[in-house]
């Protein structure tokens, strides 16, 4: 019991600590590729500290939804993060829910964020919410199908079980194509859900083009800090999911100090590599036209579906 609590605390700390680093790393990679020096890697931490110290300004036209949303978003994404293995394969919270719980915990945060975007009554928030609704409704099926394709190969919908089995090389997969299809689908979903190029541009100042940024446009102070941190957490959750489901190498399958040490190191290296890859992608592509985003997410859906089909055809 005590060990479980300690491990939960450890995983929470790791997620909270790593997420600003990943955000900073993407920015750094982009800057270097553009021949800029770029902000220091500790800048996202400094930004959070600064925002937590600032007094929030809240529009008088808002309701309780506006002030409650940052907490709900932050809590739901953090809980989702505890369902995904990071440095130990059997995450201590794995009793709390499976992959479907994970998907809908993330959706809960998105739902409240959309409400909050509408709540302040500004035109930009409303536009952001309506665009987020398009994106979210298309990423959800793609994500579920992708995860199902993997769940089928491992015979479980519990992420920990999937990762643990893969890490121990039980049920050796003879043909990786369902996995590869699901990986591609999940990566596209991750880009869309975390508001990266080519779906959204986290670096823009143009209100009219924003999706995620438009919804949080009215936030300031600690509320903004929570939302920024939650956005970083979401990125960390997706990268953990991709890294550990498809490449669980190095993850601690037993609870020994040495295994945990290696697991932590492997986790940071794997997520950092994925973050750097996102940074490279952001430099290579322009943002899609808003109505082309549906095509991209359609591709993700088809890939996930193909993964499922491959599984059945290959088995028989």
């Amino acid at each position: 019991m005590l060990l479980t609590i300690a491990l939960i605390a450890a995983q929470t700390t790791v997620l909270l600590a790593v997420s600003p680093f990943l955000v900073g790393l993407i920015r750094k990679v982009k800057a270097r590729l553009q021949l800029r020096r770029g902000a220091s890697l500790i800048q996202p931490y400094a930004d959070l500290i600064k925002l937590f110290r600032k007094q929030p300004v809240i529009s008088t036209t808002t309701s309780w939804i506006f002030t409650a949303t940052p907490y709900i978003v932050f809590a739901s994404i953090l809980t989702a993060g505890l369902l995904v293995p990071t440095f130990i394969s059997q995450t201590p919270m794995n009793f709390a829910g499976n992959i479907i719980v994970l998907v809908y915990l993330l959706a809960l945060g998105t739902f409240f964020l959309m409400l909050a975007g509408l709540d302040a009554g500004s035109a930009f928030g409303g536009m952001g919410s309506s665009r987020e609704a398009i994106v979210a409704s298309l990423t959800e099926p793609a994500m579920i199908l992708a995860i199902f394709a993997i769940a089928l190969t491992n015979g479980s919908t519990n992420v920990s079980t999937i990762v643990h089995k893969t890490a121990l090389m039980e049920d050796i997969v003879t043909d990786p194509s369902p996995h590869l299809m699901a990986l591609a689908a999940l990566f596209i979903v991750a880009l869309a859900e975390t508001g990266r190029v080519p779906v959204d541009n986290p670096a823009t100042h143009l209100e009219l083009t924003m999706i995620h940024e438009a919804m949080v446009l009215e936030y300031s102070g600690r509320y903004l800090a929570l939302l920024e941190w939650a956005a970083g957490l979401k990125l960390a959750v997706f990268l953990s999911l991709i890294a550990n489901v498809f490449a669980p190498w190095g993850i601690a399958t037993t609870i020994t100090p040495a295994a945990i040490g290696i697991g932590l190191l492997a986790y940071v290296v794997k997520t950092a590599a994925l973050a750097a890859f996102i940074g490279v992608i952001e430099c290579m592509f322009a943002k899609l036209r808003l109505f082309r985003v549906t095509d991209l997410l359609g591709v993700a859906f088809i890939l996930a579906l193909l993964g499922l089909l491959f599984f059945y055809t290959l088995r028989s």
Binding site: K30, L33, Q34, L35, R36, A123, M127, S130, R131, V197, P198, N201, A203, T204, H205, L206, E207, L208, T209, L217, E282, C283, M284, F285, A286, K287, L288, R289, L290, F291, R292
Partner: protein
């Protein structure tokens, strides 16, 4: 269409309208007619639509002549399509007569000009379909018309309440998105009101003129030879364009003959200004599609040119490089060689970046078919400059009405017909190469000699002239009237932004809201040059 000589145009007009009187032309390649006011709609319609003339409304301005002859003057400038010949029509309104017939119903391009004249002079264009205030926002007290001579320049206005009526589009699911005048980025003030059904734009109305500085009134407080620094500040990114256009007007009034070397140096500065702005624009357009790589590289090249400007002239924005009668500082031939070497390096860099930009599929998908301004709309609005050339308007004053040293520096005009964001990007890309080629040409052809001439005699009060420069955005026009003792009586400033702003309202139709910033960036118009 046949290119005829000047007299033929004049004869055509005189045959069609015997009541008009030919005046002395104010500059080369132009004619000037005194027209009775009631004939204005008919004559302008004739010039605009007659197949051999096809006159494009280039400028429309008013002047308060009441101190000397108790009238207001109205001036219409048309550019004939084939020959780029200028036709000036002028008419006089007596002091008691504040009405003039509007030509907007058949020449769309006149609409902002006539509203501006109504605001600044209190003269009323009869029959104008839209008589809302343009420059004078509603908080200006009733009856204040700043460009009238009896309006003191330093007068502090009170405030009044008033509402501006935006047209409302109604229907299920149609709503309005107001944007600005305060924006999230570092942008000048402008209000954009979109009527949208979901994301597609059904209607856009611009509301500008939030930063009226009284530039034209300030000109009238200055002697002709002193106002160069004011012209430089009309729009900070077009310092050379505006100061050159102003100086050319003053030189024409003072009958100065600018030395050839000074003319070449002026062309050099104008091309350098074009280069840094075009490079910055291409980068900024890529940045608006989140293609940050091209933005970074274009930003670097823009900075290199601005540092070059700084080394050559002591000003990154090329301030103080043009003066009445020439240029204040010479640039040695050895330095010109160095400039060309540096520009050659930048050109090879830009060729690489350009190849990346045009090969990138995701970027091309964003740029193509976005914000199309078709040729007919461009013609109707008399759209000029980069935007015009991307929509098939074959106009470039450097070729059509050569100024500075362009009579000896032939320019290849970049021309595209698609009118989308990509065409506007391509025009800029081509012009960057062309500018660098021109600078090489300048280095080869520049003669030795003096760089400035001495000021001559003062002009007669009432003398006026027109001057035009192809700045990086497009045609910059100055109409300068001399006053008593070498003062400025009237200085009409026309930045190309004033003409091209209304066209954006048409280019965005049917596009989606998140593409607007990109379309706007591809026009990249000046708020300051527009608001004056």
């Amino acid at each position: 269409m046949v290119i005829m000589d000047t007299n033929a145009y004049d004869d055509m007009l005189k045959t069609a309208f015997p009541a008009i009187r030919a005046n002395e032309p104010v500059c080369t390649k132009s004619s000037h007619f005194q027209v009775p006011k009631n004939l204005l709609p008919a004559i302008t319609h004739y010039i605009h639509t007659q197949p051999n003339l096809r006159g494009k409304l280039t400028l429309l301005w008013a002047c308060d002549h009441r101190p000397s002859r108790d009238t207001y003057g109205l001036y219409y400038l048309f550019t004939l399509e084939a020959s780029h010949h200028w036709m000036v029509l002028s008419t006089e309104l007596t002091n008691t007569d504040r009405l003039f017939p509007s030509i907007t119903p058949h020449i769309h391009a006149a609409q902002w000009y006539e509203r501006e004249i109504r605001d600044m002079f209190g003269l009323i264009p009869q029959g104008h379909p839209d008589l809302r205030r343009l420059v004078r926002h509603e908080h200006w007290p009733k009856g204040t018309h700043p460009l009238r001579k009896d309006f003191p320049w330093n007068c502090v206005l009170g405030r009044q309440q008033g509402t501006y009526h935006f047209p409302h589009i109604e229907g299920e699911g149609v709503f309005e998105v107001p944007v600005g005048p305060i924006h999230a980025g570092i942008i000048e003030p402008g209000h954009f009101r979109f009527s949208v059904a979901g994301e597609p734009i059904m209607h856009l109305e611009l509301r500008h003129f939030w930063k009226h500085r009284g530039v034209e009134k300030l000109f009238e407080q200055q002697p002709l030879t002193d106002a160069v620094s004011l012209a430089e500040r009309v729009s900070g990114d077009t310092t050379v364009g505006h100061s050159l256009a102003y100086c050319q007007a003053v030189e024409a009034l003072l009958h100065l003959d600018v030395p050839r070397r000074a003319k070449y140096l002026r062309s050099l500065f104008l091309e350098l200004e074009r280069l840094y702005n075009h490079l910055g624009d291409i980068g900024a357009m890529c940045n608006d599609t989140a293609y940050a790589l091209a933005h970074a590289h274009c930003g670097r090249m823009k900075e290199q040119i601005m540092q070059l400007n700084d080394r050559l002239t002591g000003s990154r924005f090329l301030r103080g490089v043009i003066q009445v009668g020439g240029v204040p500082r010479d640039i040695e031939n050895a330095q010109l060689v160095k400039i060309v070497e540096e520009l050659n390096r930048i050109q090879s860099d830009f060729s690489e970046v350009g190849a990346i930009i045009f090969a990138n599929a995701s970027l091309t998908d964003r740029l193509e078919t976005t914000g199309v301004l078709n040729e007919q709309t461009a013609w109707d609005h008399a759209v000029i400059g980069i935007v015009g050339r991307a929509s098939g308007m074959n106009c470039d004053l450097r070729r059509d009405r050569p100024f500075a040293a362009y009579d000896e520096l032939p320019v290849n005009v970049a021309l595209y017909r698609y009118g989308d964001v990509r065409a506007r990007l391509r025009v800029r890309g081509d012009e960057i190469h062309e500018s660098i080629r021109l600078i090489r040409d300048i280095r080869r052809k520049i003669p030795d000699g003096p760089i400035a001439c001495q000021p001559g005699s003062l002009p007669n009060p009432g003398d006026w002239t027109l001057s035009a420069v192809e700045g990086w955005r497009g045609e910059i026009l100055y109409a300068v009237t001399a006053g008593e003792g070498g003062q400025i009586h009237r200085c009409k400033v026309r930045d190309p932004s004033f003409v091209n702003w209304p066209a954006i309202q048409w280019a965005v139709l049917g596009n989606i809201i998140p593409d607007f910033p990109l379309i706007n960036k591809s026009f990249n118009l000046s708020y300051a040059g527009n608001d004056l």
